[in-house]
Amino acid sequence: MGEVMVITSGKGGVGKTTTTANIGTGLASLGYKVVLVDTDIGLRNLDVVMGLENRIVYDIVDVTSGQVSYSKALIKDKRFPDGRLNLLPAAQTKDKTAVNQAQMQKLCEDLKKEFDFVLIDCPAGIEQGFKNAIAGAEKAIVVTTPEVSAIRDADRIIGLLEAGGLRNPRLIINRLRPAMVKQGDMMSIEDMVDILAIDVLGVVPEDDTIVISTNKGEPAVLDDNSRAGQAYRNITRRLTGADVPLMNLEVSEGLFDKVRKIFGMGR
């Protein structure tokens, strides 16, 4: 039985899709069978970031409405010839209400029988799309950027996740700029953890290679020279239970101990 994990944020544009693509690809590189589910109906993106757009035939609505089986709709990522990385794309032209929570639960139940990880890319906001995305999930990853508004939305989302039965979500801080933190111009990890009070799964630095890799449809996690890619590789390994300390560029020295504590590794 696999694990169903939703990647969510509240605020838009903080890096949910980027994170889903990179974690999914990272897990596949470690040998796991992975399926990525794009639930951002009407604003699908994950296929583009994965470089799989031109191979879409069926989408999530075709599956949840019972028109085709999920295996028919899944797109196999060509980078893994044994087909262990798959994408279920969102519908682009259909209405957001075309999927409901019960259908999502059923879909997740089915997918986790076949895959080790079912990663759900959640749309921004807290409406129907969000509710659908979390309906079948067992674990949650909350993505935020070091901005007050993103933190506020993350806090709101954590509350809603808890209300929806998803306890102990884990946090990914994206687009951190260590230099700005040092100058006191950006919220530090410490500040964010202070308010959100949840475990940090990882910190991804602001990095142009993300933009380049997004445009190429080649997740940065596969690029050995990308710092953000390294951060996602670390996150991937933490997800599989490994103790990986935060990268040096992710934290300033003084915070290192504090973050170790958050991971519970100091013992």
Partner: protein
């Protein structure tokens, strides 16, 4: 003539208004209106049950109540009358008992989970505002009426007895978790929070608010008009602090505030925030 007496209590399904069953109905209506008006925005959106005691209501009187509550933004869930054997306790709520006895309120940290209510489709604005009001009012536990006089009581009842005698009319809600952005607690009595209150969260209490953590949200103590209500927190950094009908916010030049517990209350007609001193009479009604 006796003034109409209204008691508001929390119960599992929202607030219950216990109405005096002796006075004139018209006095009752006036008293309710005063109460609702003084409550300001505190009760808006709350679910309300009305318990009229032994009074027998006429059709018009029922109709009057049906209009009265919604006109102040409250949602009337049911009217309970004990005047005849049928009653119309349609909620089938075993917890609704006769009379105005003190009630002990359960520790209610699990009640947030039941916040999802079925929403009518299409009203997305409405939906959002309702969803953010987390249902918090705890189930009322009737004090066993005979526990004080009967010898054959079990341990539980014995433990409760001293609380009842001490408790008087006070009601307190204990919340053992952090309130996050978008979560609201409304309670007619005191609210105690073992956790933080984050920015974007709101605590509205008829009585005092005590936070054993960092308070960063909006606090409204004495929301039913009580000027001697206080807000205390381990670290008091509210976005906004309201007591009764007074509203304040911290100064704009934003330092982090002192590293000690503080208390906010009305003094000489102004909300003041001071260091909380253990053992002083700084807490609550020190009249």
């Amino acid at each position: 003539m006796k003034k109409a007496d209204i008691v508001i209590k929390g119960s599992k399904d929202g607030l219950t208004f216990y109405l005096d069953s002796q006075c004139d109905f018209s006095d009752l209506v006036i008293a309710i209106e005063q109460k609702l008006a003084s409550a300001d925005c505190f009760l808006v959106g709350a679910h309300v049950n009305v318990d009229v005691g032994l009074r027998k209501l006429t059709e018009e009187q029922i109709e009057r109540l049906r209009i009265l509550f919604p006109s102040y933004g409250l949602i009337l869930r049911g009217i309970t009358s004990w005047s005849d054997s049928e009653g119309n306790n349609d909620e089938g709520e075993g917890a609704i008992m006769k009379g105005n006895r003190e009630r002990i309120y359960q520790i209610a940290n699990h009640l947030y989970e039941s916040s999802e209510r079925p929403e009518p489709a299409g009203e997305s604005r409405n939906l959002e505002s309702k969803e953010s009001i987390v249902s918090f009012v705890p189930a009322a536990m009737e004090a066993p009426p005979s526990s004080l006089s009967t010898a054959a009581t079990d341990d539980g009842a014995e433990n409760e007895a001293p609380i009842i005698t001490l408790g008087g009319d006070e009601q307190t809600l204990l919340i053992q978790r952090t309130l996050r952005s978008g979560q609201t607690v409304r309670y007619p009595g005191n609210v105690v929070i073992l956790g933080d209150v984050n920015p974007g969260a709101e605590v509205i209490a008829g009585g005092n608010i005590i936070v054993m953590g960092v308070f960063r949200g909006v606090a409204h103590a004495g929301a039913l008009g009580s000027l001697d209500a206080v807000v205390t927190a381990y670290r008091l950094r509210p976005t906004q602090l309201r007591i009764a009908n007074h509203i304040t916010r911290p100064p704009d030049e934003d330092d982090d505030g002192p590293d000690h517990p503080e208390i906010g209350r009305i003094r000489d007609g102004m909300v003041t925030i001071e260091r909380y001193h253990y053992g002083s009479k700084s807490f609550g009604k020190d009249a």
